[in-house]
């Protein structure tokens, strides 16, 4: 069993199907990006996983158990949701004291997590004076209170400035390196591309892709190569005869279904001078748009 298992999850709000037959796992020790355009069903999926909304069918579990079936859920799973909010008149320290008492965590953890997110000096100030970035740090501190094995973050970069995003990436990586399973949703693709190991892409509530970042970036067509040759016509013909479709752009050939090594071998065999050779990697945006059917 995986730390997070989503199986045939469906959630309907009246006649609207927010999530349909969604299945995927999240593995320990990896940061998994949960990607999709706004309204794709990401937040609904995470809320179903956390027991905040009831699935219409299917299941969303942690090692086979629903969130409310876990012995000490807040110590097992930490979550930062998109609408993480705090009473404006309460200090960060008091917020954490309350959550520690509610979740059954030792009171000493409050100082630990305040230090971990860099809020120690501001801990006794009322939250209404906090910037958006400080609130996000406080939300993460709340999620870390139970030192959880699973960390779930819904659009955590919203409101963070570039240093804040960089800091968050480092925290997520550190958590994964300690063997924790980290699931982080985002619609800002560039922000997660640099920090995730695996990717789950959904659109219209349905799974569109799931795999390592490299596999999803590569798309479904297998490897692709870009080659610049002295005699592109001859090389293109040779590649096509071997079953590799080629799109020609001047002396630049886009070869599908072949690795750079395979293309180089064909070029050597045909005695065509190669001026440049590189794997073609789709940008995350390209992959995302292709997978979700969204328009740039």
């Amino acid at each position: 069993m995986a730390p997070i298992e989503i199986r045939d999850l469906c959630k309907r709000f009246g006649r609207l199907a927010a999530v349909e037959q969604l299945s995927f796992d999240v593995e320990p020790g990896r940061v998994t990006g949960f990607l999709g355009p706004n309204g794709a069903g990401k937040s609904t999926t995470l809320r179903a996983l956390l027991g905040l909304v009831r699935p219409s069918s299917g299941s969303a579990t942690f090692d086979g158990l629903r969130y409310d079936e876990l012995a000490q859920p807040a110590a097992r799973v930490g979550a930062v949701l998109e609408d993480a909010a705090f009473h404006p008149g309460r200090s960060a320290r008091n917020h954490l004291r309350i959550l520690a008492a509610t979740g059954g965590h030792p009171a000493g953890r409050v100082d630990d997590v305040l230090s971990a997110v860099g809020l120690t000096e501001a801990a006794d100030r009322r939250v209404k004076g906090y910037s958006m970035g400080m609130r996000q740090r406080l939300a993460l501190a709340a999620a870390l209170l139970g030192d959880p094995q699973v960390l779930i973050l819904d659009e955590p970069t919203n409101g963070l400035d570039p240093p804040g995003i960089s800091w968050l990436r480092a925290v997520l990586r550190e958590q994964a390196d300690r063997g924790r399973a980290v699931l982080v949703s985002s619609h800002v693709l560039a922000e997660v591309a640099q920090s995730v190991d695996d990717v789950v892409v959904i659109a219209d509530g349905q799974l569109r892709a799931h795999g390592t970042l490299e596999a999803v970036l590569g798309g479904d067509d297998g490897p692709a190569t870009e080659v610049r040759a002295q005699d592109p016509v001859r090389l293109a013909g040779a590649l096509e005869r071997r079953g590799h479709p080629v799109d020609r752009d001047g002396d630049l050939l886009h070869v599908r279904g072949a690795t750079p090594a395979q293309v180089g071998e064909v070029a050597g065999h045909e005695r065509v001078a190669v001026l440049g050779l590189a794997p073609r990697v789709r940008s995350l945006e390209e992959a995302f748009l292709a997978l979700t059917g969204a328009r740039a």
């Binding site: 909304v53 807040a74 993480a84």
Partner: protein, 238 residues
């Protein structure tokens, strides 16, 4: 449950709203008892010591405490930390019952002290220990039930302004109006009728007997709890 209760009491103590409302109500109670003891025409000590506003303010505190979870959108974090929503609701009820009893105890004893000192200094009759204890338990019983009742109404309505205005309208307008036109019905009301029967006073004519009034108030609280538990437990938090 002890940890949840501790957390809920911590919530109460860590906002200025709570301190401001309690302070205002306590000050108002002391001013009213002092004015009543000095200027009142009849100077009935029993009535003086039962008319402290803290007993009623606790219903608003309960409502504000519960609706604040939605107003400040903290309900998600609370439910994540304590996913058993029924236990969460019970912890909140217990917290506001405890808060009601403690606050009512402090304010009632303070008003008794101030009132007895003023009446004694002016040579007016006052209450003996037995009568004071009788007034005290009635105030505490009402506060212990009205706090949780406010929590349940808050869980049902969720909108803070609507809940607070609605409770004040029921207590100050609807129930007195019903009591005027149909006293037999009005005395069963949850915010004025039944609490009035428990507290009694010098002129208890037309009110329910204290024990029966307490049973009526508990029934109101029980119905409100069942409805709140159903609404809280069955709803998606999106």
């Amino acid at each position: 449950m002890t940890a949840l209760l501790h957390a809920e009491l911590l919530k109460l103590r860590t906002t200025r709203t709570f301190a401001a409302i309690v302070g205002t109500a306590a000050a108002l109670s002391l001013i009213l008892v002092a004015l009543g003891a000095i200027l009142g025409a009849e100077k009935d000590p029993h009535a003086l010591f039962t008319n402290n506003s803290i007993t009623y303010i606790i219903v608003l505190l309960g409502a504000i405490g519960m609706t604040g979870e939605w107003r400040h959108r903290t309900i998600t974090g609370t439910v994540l930390a304590a996913p058993d929503r029924l236990r969460l609701l019970v912890a909140k009820l217990l917290a506001y019952a405890v808060a009601g009893v403690v606050l009512s105890l402090l304010v009632t004893v303070a008003t008794m002290l101030v009132g007895t000192l003023i009446l004694g200094a002016r040579g007016e009759p006052t209450l003996g220990p037995g009568d004071l204890a009788d007034v005290l338990w009635r105030n505490l019983a009402v506060a212990a039930v009205l706090g949780p009742l406010g929590v349940c109404v808050g869980a049902l309505v969720r909108n803070q302004i609507v809940t607070v205005v609605g409770l004040i309208a029921v207590a100050a307008v609807l129930e007195p109006a019903v009591a005027q036109v149909a006293p037999e019905v009005g005395r069963f009301g949850p915010l004025a009728g039944a609490p009035g029967g428990i507290i009694g006073g010098a002129d208890a004519a037309g009110l329910l007997a204290p024990g029966f009034a307490l049973a009526v108030l508990l029934t109101w609280a029980g119905v409100a709890f069942a409805a709140a538990a159903w609404r809280l437990g069955g709803r998606d938090l999106v």
